[in-house]
Every structure is written in structure tokens, then in C-alpha cells.
Subunit: 350 residues, 4 copies
């Protein structure tokens, strides 16, 4: 517990991860929202853009140049890729911690970053000391981290789904790991685009990025790390007509050893002390709405005896555990707060 | 502030108002959930029916006969019409307060109740001492009430929209008040019915109850009470393809006096100390999602100079301010808690 | 019946009214699609933009300058306001008929046009000879028209709903006519805008244009015409989370004479020979999906005895009877085809 | 071509496949709808239950006992499993052809039928001469068939997706074929059930049948047939918040031979003369709405070079090509009509 509230700044508060940070931080008992920047909306009251925040957020969007972010304890970047890396060093120099919700600090291999994000990486030194922000995998490193690369939405589902297996070498890696992932439309962000109009994406679905999606290299790198050896990985994301919610169905070939194990028990044990990871009872499969608005991730597994494969189904709210909630979970750890502070939001069902 | 938590029972916890009470009460700091009854689901863990509550509600549905509700401080009825009135007297005798979310205590005129609900009223004595549960209209009576008739979802929007005008006699009552109301599908409840299937009510809308809806007599009685004289009232509800949310568009003919007044200022003044009533700035109109999951009600008004009419637009979450949230607000008042205790849930947007 | 097919051109085929014209005209037995223009998409195959048309439309978008529209028999303008009036005279000179789905030929009063559309009217002469394209009201004039101003989507519901009453003087016009209208999101067009993104407009609704909508003057002018005297009119449109569909709930004060009449019979008689106007049986109210994809309009009425008001509920598909279907109905009349040619599309339910 | 119209009966016209048959058959130029039966709704006009059919279908539901189905040329069964097999023999004896949209004639192995459908198969003799109704695979047999087992919705997507590969032995069958399938909610039928209520299944998704779905043995049997050898098959269906539409993402390991082939060309060639199978250009992936309301199926493929796997994406309208449309396509073939008669419905987009 700390005596005074954390001073928190948000760079780029007009997108969905931005407003989600605001929703959660506005009632976080240890946080004082200090500054929210937006070049385009400077001067506008935040609650005028997001009426849901009327009565909760009194701040006005500030021009980044005048936001005095160096006075904060921590700054979240809810910006396009490339912004955080241009400002991180200056903030670190001012003893401000940085949590980036874009991709700048997710990929340690800058060549891969540059290939997928079409820009050079401008601060490889900071990148090297940054930590990939999944607390259930990297909690110790997060405790002392100064810069967090908050994961993309898809990776969290795949990595937490597979970690118990990969950590124990229970996947037969001669076959590819296949992740068939589904996301609500908010995952595409709050950009004016024809493809995500209501009349285009309602009552409709599609696969996209079949030939290549930016989360592929991110997941692939982490899977390799967890496996300690090369991994083949097929990833197909789909766009689903729901606002929030993400469900990944994952298919893996079990090792001979794994076929004989009680994998349900293995998963329950692996996550027994994790507040935000819920392994469902055997035979129960999760709906995305069971985590709507909350930081929970729910996992179910089913062993297909005839084929020797395991099917995993993992759900999360793409904007919470998949973005803003996990970022706050990281903040809580970095500042030695109880990890669930401000995150005990009961899912909204129906 | 009180020293020990309120012991709370819920009769009928398997519908949408039931699960919504659970969502809010599970994290209410002054409440200990003591019993949830369901004849049909006795023995089932609540969180098995509503996985959103895993980790928040450990209770199991109990058969009503074995629930020991007389040990509670307060019992909510989230049941079909007719149940609360059959059990209220016994609970009152045991010094338990009652908040009914069905219609048993909404209509003081039992003849009207019997006409619309097709059943005799079995406890008119309790009815007489019950209070209609809109805090912004009847806060003083609620403080000392033992039985609350929690309003229907539609009435709260119409009554809070019109109260500032009716209290001041600013409507020309020679013309009918017209309320064109729209509700999300959860308003129809969690009953297995063809008409509210996804494939029937998605991408579709309709008016219903055009020739008579049960909320018409309820609103009419309250309007007459507020006006102190007879009122003509036309009410047409519509079913909208959204889960939650209610929007009422109300058309009234202004009195000559009203035409000259600053009605925006009048509304702002009337509700300036009400935590849950938000009068929007002139020219701004509300979306239903701006209150999703929260107890807020938002009101906007527009004076149509050419016709001498006023148009009001009022939104709420039908399950919160329109049902469970308002019920908890009433409970807070009845037990002398801060009125917003457990109700500071930031709306979920997007 | 004609011997050879009509040569049809479409200017601006990339929006929702454009693709809807294509859907219907592609299988219209008397139509040969000749040219579809789009400045921005010239050279792109139509079916590459709209895969639903693969196998039905082989055309490629053409630059307007090279489209040889003067070779057509008729040209539809599915363009922003202002385009049709700049090209109409030249087409007329080439003996090509014009059907404009935008607003250029809807308002005979150019001052009103200029006030609401913020542009001068560039061809008042053509405007004078244009006909407002609701066949059920103006069929005779349409037969010989060379230029049609196809109505806005909302006006058709309100005007066909009220015509039987206004034609007979059955409304007490001392009270305002109130139209509370609801539209699916496709009514906003296929423009990249934040407000109509899926994640913004799904599971959500709102009123808009409360203080003034462009269809108000259009409806008002037509109501005045039908009534033969001044009319007071209140119009509030709402955005509903469905792709297509429009429902208008209309409230009128009946004249003393009307109160005594069988209005149900009056409506049935008025529309008995109209293929596309369906007066529902007494007590039955329409759903929008009952006309999805079709040119039908369905009307129901309910007399409120206590108040002397009549409530009308009218539904249509905003893109068909509210736009492209009605335009083709007009074309059929102008070229002496059976009025329902190409328009017998059974509504898609569910 | 035939001189007089086919007399068509429908048994069980109150579900979604029933109303879909009606939508298509009502305007089929070679069909005279003769009888529609429903035990529960006998006496009700069809258009009173489905207002979309007002003006198109004048029939009234008839009690099955009085429907004189033996006067028909063909009878469709849009009934629960088990009904068609109890009536098929009598109809065949009266020289009436039978098309069953339920499962009675889909599985040649009655032991498997009985395991999955929990009922004995009552007419194995008829079953033996029945034909599995996918025209693109079994057209010759359908021509002379008297009984058709119309496929389940999922199987058509998987089988037409994989047929070009299996027919040529291009899949490495040492690895399982994985089909991750997604269906709109209409696939669950028009039954009153809580799980498919709008407020339950909107803005939400889930996997279901992970441990066993009835379409698994049906697909498995057909895959084995096409492969000519045993096949391993993993099938996970998902429920998606859209009314119609089905998308299957299929993952297969390519044989060494296949890795070197131009599979895009192979697919285009295989389906070049199929009116209802559309192989999309390389790199283009289909949306479900691109086939909404139509009998089209669209297929895209992507070879993942690193893993040697092929990913297929297949979409159809589950009620048309996945049910009623395919049934009519079968009827057209059985009666020597042009295969697309009555099926040239342009998809409804948006």
C-alpha cells in the first residue's frame, strides 16, 4: 500500500484502449489521473468526447507539448505504433515509467519489428531493457521494469493458453501449433474506416490477415521462448460482429507423455494462484460475454483421444485483459500495489 | 456508515434482474449476500448458471422453503408478478424489509392492478404502506419505508423526464403527453420465447403493446399524481436490437408560461444534487451506451418554437436504473447508507 | 412491354443506394446495365468492390467523363447532393431521362433547398418540371416525367402513412403531426465515419437531428401539399442498430369526423390496388424485417379512443422502398413497364 | 423443361428451413406449392406466421393427416430428425419423391445414426437407395434418386472445400484434418430456448460441441468416402452473433506432391462449370454477407509455405446452400430442370 496516489498520464486518449484506460483508472483507488494528451482534440473535455465518463473524468485533452508528462509516475501510451519509442528515453530520464499499449516494445528482434511495422526502431537500447507485459509469465521482471511492452490482444490468449504445456514440453512440435482466433470489432480501433462500419461488419464475419498478421511474429517469438526451441505456428484471425470479446481456439499435437497426463489438473495447478486466469471445469466451455468488461481470461481444454490432439478454447475481453486491464495489472505490479487493485470489475452479463 | 454488513436475500435469482442484482451486490461493500432462491435450480451453484460471477458469488440456489429469508435484513424479489405479495407480510412480521422488482407494489389502485395483471391483489394492507421506489421523487418516504414497489423500467424514464415540468405546472394538459419508448431486448426477460430469439429480433425492430402495455397505467397514475390533475397519456413501446438500454422520446405541449422560461436551467436546477440524474448540456442528446451497466439516467430537452412543444430524450440502462440499480439505490436509502454505495460503476463504452 | 432492353446508367455506384440499384437491376428482365461511374474507383471491377455481385455484374467503374451516359435511356444518380442538378440538363438534351436519388429535385422551393443543403440550386428550370417520385401519390405525373426527384427514405413512410387521412381532411391540424422515426444504420451511407462504426453504433441507439433534419422540410412541404393548408410537423429521427429497416411511429389528432369513421377500412380501400403498400389487418403491427430486401411498405393503425389520437406504424426497407426500389418503380412507370417488373423480391426472413 | 408445374409439399413449415423453402419456392417458376403441414399450427395462414410472405403465399398450414401429400410430385421434410423416415416409404409407394432436410438419410451406417440421434433407424431399405444431396459431388446419382438426404449445414462447406484435394490425393492424411467452423444463430433453429435468446447470444460468441457434434460423423463418413481411406478429423463449431452465415476455416497438411502444385488453378478448374461454387481469386478471402440469402458458396485458399499446410476459408448461407437452397437445387436436378431455376437470388448486401 502506498501513501499517496500515483500520478498517471495517458498519451493518446481518444482511441478504444485510451477510453478503456480511463474507464478503469477513473475509479482506481490509488491513481490520480494527471494528464491525457491528444494533438487533435486538445482543449476538448474528455467527457464531451466520451459521455460515459461524465461525472468521473474532469480532465481536458492537452497538447502533448504542454502535458508535463515528466511530472507523472507512469505514462501509458495508447497511441499508434512508433510514438512510445520516440518519447520513452526522455521519460525514463525523468524517472517516469512507461507502459506502451502499441507494438514498440513487444518484439526484441528489431529486424522483425521493422519488417512488420514498416518503420525503423528508434530506441533499441530501451527496447533491450523493456519487459513483455504478461504478468502470469513475467511477473518478476515486471516488478523491476521501467518499460513495459504491453502485449497485443491476440497473443495473451494464445500464450496463456499454451504456457502450461510449453513450459513442460508437452507439445509435439513436429506438427504446427494452429490458432484460429476470433475478435470483436473494437479490436480494429476507433478509426473511421469503411470496413468496420456497422452496415459492413454487422451480421457478417470474415477471416483476415490469412497470409500474414502482425501478431504472428509476436506470438511466434514468445512461443519459441516458452518452448526453448523452434516452433511452427499457423495463425488465422477472424472478425466477429460483437463490440468486445476475443476467443481463440488452439489445436496442438500432444507429446506421447502428455497423452497420458491429466492435463485439466495440470492447468488448474499452473494457474491456481492467478487472480485473472480461470481454468474452467472439465467439459465447460467459455463464452466471451462471461468476461465482458473484466480482466479475466478463461481457459477450457479438451483432449481428442482419436487424434492425439488437444483443443484449447480461451476467451478474454480484448480491451481489458487484451489491452488496458493488463496494462493496469502491470502498473500495479511495478508500483507494488495489490495486483487486482482497481480491476475487480464484475463482467457485464447480459 | 454501519458496522456490520446487511444480510441480503434474493428471491428468484435466475432472470436478468436477478443476475443484475448479483453483479452489483457481489461487490457492494456493505452487503453480505445470504441467500438466493430458485425453485427450479435449487442446488445449482449460481456461478455455474452465470459464469460471469465465477470468483464473485459462491452461493448455491436454495429452495425458497429452506432459505431462512427471515434472517435477512432485506429481501429483493426478482420474481414474476404475484410472488412478492404472497410473502411480504411474513417477512415484515420478521422485521425484514422488502423490495419488489415486479409489479405487486407499483399500483395503489388494486382494481387497475387486477385488470392488467389478471390476478387479485392478495395483500392490499401492505400495498397501502408501500412506497413507489423512485428516490428522486419519493426519497423521504423511502427512508422510512418497509416495502418498496420498484418501478417498471419504462416509467422511470418518463417520470424523471417530466417531473420538473409537472411539479411546476408547465405542461398544457389539454393535449396528450406522448411517450415513444424504445427498449433493448433484455427488457423481455430471460424466458425461452420465439419472439426474442436472436434470429427473430436481431437486425429488426417493431412497436408492441400499441393497444395497451402494463406500464401505461403505472405511468399514468404517477403522472396524475405529479400533475395533481387528470392527464392524457399515449405510450408506445418499441423493441430494439440491443441487449440493454432504454430511450424514451417524450412530446409535450408547453403551457404559455413554460414557453417563456429557460427550461434547460429549470432541469439543471431540479436535478443539481442528484447523483444519478444527468441533465445534458443544451444541444447534446444522449446515446443509450453512455449509461451501459450504470445507474445513470441522462436527459436532454429541445424546445420546438414553431409548435410550442417540448421534446425530451431520456436514456437509462433498463436493468440498472430501470431495475436492479434503482432497487439497490432504494436499499441504500432505507438503511441510511450513502445513496451511491456500490453504484459507482463507470458505464461500459464501447 | 418493350422489345429491347432499357439502357441504364448509374452515376456514383459505390454507396449503398448504388449497390442496391445494382442488386435489383442486375436481374431486372428489361434492363441492360450500360455504365456505372465512379471518379475514385474508375477501372475497378464492380464485383471486386461488392463480391455479392460476382456472377451478376461484369461491369467496371468508369470515369464519368468517359461513360457515354448520353447513350442511355435513363440515368440514376446515386451521388451526393448537387451532382444530378449539374448534369441533368445535358442528359435531357440528349433525350435521357433522369432519376435522382439525392435531394436535388425533391424541394420545389429553392430557398428552402439552399438553406438545408448549403448550396445554390443550379438548375431551377429542370426542377420545375421534375416530379416527386412516390408512385402511389403522383403516378400520373411520373408517367410523363423526364426528371424524378426520388424521395428521401423517411418521407415515404410518413407520406404514405398519412396520405389517406390528409386527402380526406381527417386530421385536426390545430395539433402538430408528430413522427417519431427510426432508421437502420445503412441510412447514414457508406462513408468512413467514427459515429457509424460497428463498435460505436452496435448495442446502442440515439435520437439525432432533434433540432433539425433535412427530411423535415421535405416532408413538411409534401404534407402541406396533401393537406391543402398549413401543417405543424414535429420530426425526430433515431439511429437503430440494424443494417436496414425503417419504422415510423406517427401520432395525429383526429378530426371529429374521423373519430366516427372506420379508418382501417379507409386505409385498405385507399391502397387496395397498390402492389407495394400493405395495410395490415387490425391489431397486427409490422416488424422491419418483414420487408427486408423488398419494395413493400407495411402500415398499421390504432385509434386511441380516450385521447382522440391515431397512432400509425409504418415500416419499409430504407434502401428499397426508401431509395433504390422506389427509383426502379418510378423507372418502370416512366417506360411503361409493369410497375413491379424486377421488384418481386421476397423479403429475407429470418 | 416441363410443361406443367411441379406439385410440391412441405412437411413442417414453421421452422427456419421451412420458411426458407417457402421464400424460394414461392417465386420458383416451375413450382406450385400444394401443401404445407404443421400439426401445431393447422388452420393458421402461413402469411400470418411469416408476414414476409404476405402476397406471396396464400396457403394455410394443414394437419399432416389431411394434407394429401401423396398427390404431390415431391415432398420436402423440414422436420425434426426421425419424421421423414417414418413417412418416406408410403410416399415412395405413391410415386412421390422425398427430400429430407433432417438427418434421416445422411448416414448410411445406421449404428452411427442411432448413436448420435438416439433413435433406431426405422427404414434402412429406403436409406440404402437414398442419395447424399450435394450436387457438385453426386449429381449423377441425384438425377435418378427418389430420396435425398440433404446435408447438414456444416458438411457442405467442409466437403466442397476439401473435395478437389481429396479427389486427387493431395492431403497428407497422417495428420488430422481440422475444421474450425462458425455459424450464425439461425443454425440452431426456431425453437424457444434460453441459449439462443437475443440477450444471450448477441455481442457474444462461444465454441460448442467441442467434445462431439452430430455433423462430425456425417462429415467424417463423407471425407473417408472422398479419400478412399481412413481420415482423422477434428471439428469444432462456434456460434456467432449473426442471423445467417457460415464460415469454415480448414487446416490440412499437404502431401509432398501438393506442395509443388498450383492449387489455386486446381480449384478453379474443378469448379469451373459449377454455377453455385465460386473460387475467389488468389489473395481474396470471403465474407459471409457476400452470400446472404443466396445459394452461392465461396472458397479461398492459402498455402502456408513454412509449415506445408493449406488453409481454406469457405462461406455459405447456412439456410440456403446449407439447407433449403441446396434442397431445391437437388429438386431441380431430380426433375430435369435447369439447376439454377428459382435460385438466381442476388445476395443481400449490405
Amino acid at each position: 500500500m502506498i501513501n499517496k496516489k500515483l500520478k498517471v498520464g495517458i498519451v493518446g486518449g481518444t482511441g478504444y484502449t485510451g477510453v478503456e484506460l480511463l474507464r478503469l483508472l477513473a475509479v482506481h483507488p490509488q491513481v490520480a489521473l494527471t494528464a491525457i494528451t491528444s494533438r487533435g482534440e486538445a482543449g476538448l473535455a474528455v467527457a464531451d468526447m466520451f459521455p460515459s465518463l461524465r461525472g468521473y473524468v474532469d480532465l481536458t485533452f492537452t497538447d502533448p507539448a504542454q502535458a508535463n508528462l515528466d511530472q507523472c509516475d507512469v505514462v501509458f501510451f495508447a497511441t499508434p505504433h512508433g510514438v512510445a519509442m520516440s518519447q520513452a528515453q526522455a521519460l525514463l530520464d525523468a524517472n517516469v515509467k512507461v507502459i506502451d499499449l502499441a507494438a514498440d516494445f513487444r518484439l526484441q528482434d528489431t529486424a522483425i519489428f521493422e519488417k512488420w511495422y514498416k518503420m525503423p526502431h528508434s530506441c533499441p537500447t530501451v527496447l533491450q531493457e523493456s519487459v513483455y507485459g504478461i504478468p502470469e509469465l513475467y511477473r518478476e521482471q515486471i516488478k523491476s521494469a521501467k518499460v513495459i511492452g504491453n502485449p497485443g490482444c491476440y497473443p495473451t490468449t494464445v500464450l496463456l493458453g499454451l504456457a502450461p504445456l510449453l513450459e513442460q514440453g508437452l507439445i509435439d512440435l513436429t506438427a504446427p501449433i494452429i490458432a484460429d482466433a476470433k475478435s470483436g470489432v473494437s479490436g480494429a480501433g476507433r478509426k473511421a474506416e469503411v470496413a468496420t462500419l456497422f452496415a459492413e461488419s454487422s451480421d457478417n464475419m470474415k477471416a483476415y490477415g490469412v497470409s500474414g498478421h502482425r501478431h504472428h511474429p509476436e506470438i511466434h517469438a514468445q512461443l519459441t521462448q516458452l518452448a526453448g526451441q523452434p516452433v511452427q505456428f499457423i495463425f488465422v484471425p477472424h472478425l466477429i460482429p460483437m463490440i468486445r470479446g476475443m476467443l481463440s481456439t488452439i489445436y496442438v499435437k500432444l507429446s506421447e507423455q502428455a497423452k497420458a497426463l491429466d492435463l485439466q489438473a495440470l492447468f488448474e495447478k499452473r494457474y491456481q494462484h492467478e487472480r485473472f486466469v480461470d481454468v474452467l471445469p472439465a467439459g465447460v466451455f467459455p463464452e466471451t460475454r462471461s468476461v465482458r468488461g473484466s480482466n479475466q481470461i478463461r481457459i477450457a481444454l479438451h483432449k481428442q483421444v482419436e487424434t492425439g490432439y488437444l483443443t484449447l478454447v480461451v476467451v478474454q475481453d480484448n480491451l481489458v485483459k487484451g489491452a488496458a486491464g493488463q496494462a493496469i495489472q502491470n502498473m500495479n505490479i511495478m508500483f507494488n500495489l495489490a495486483e487486482n487493485t482497481g480491476l475487480e470489475v464484475v463482467p457485464l452479463l447480459p
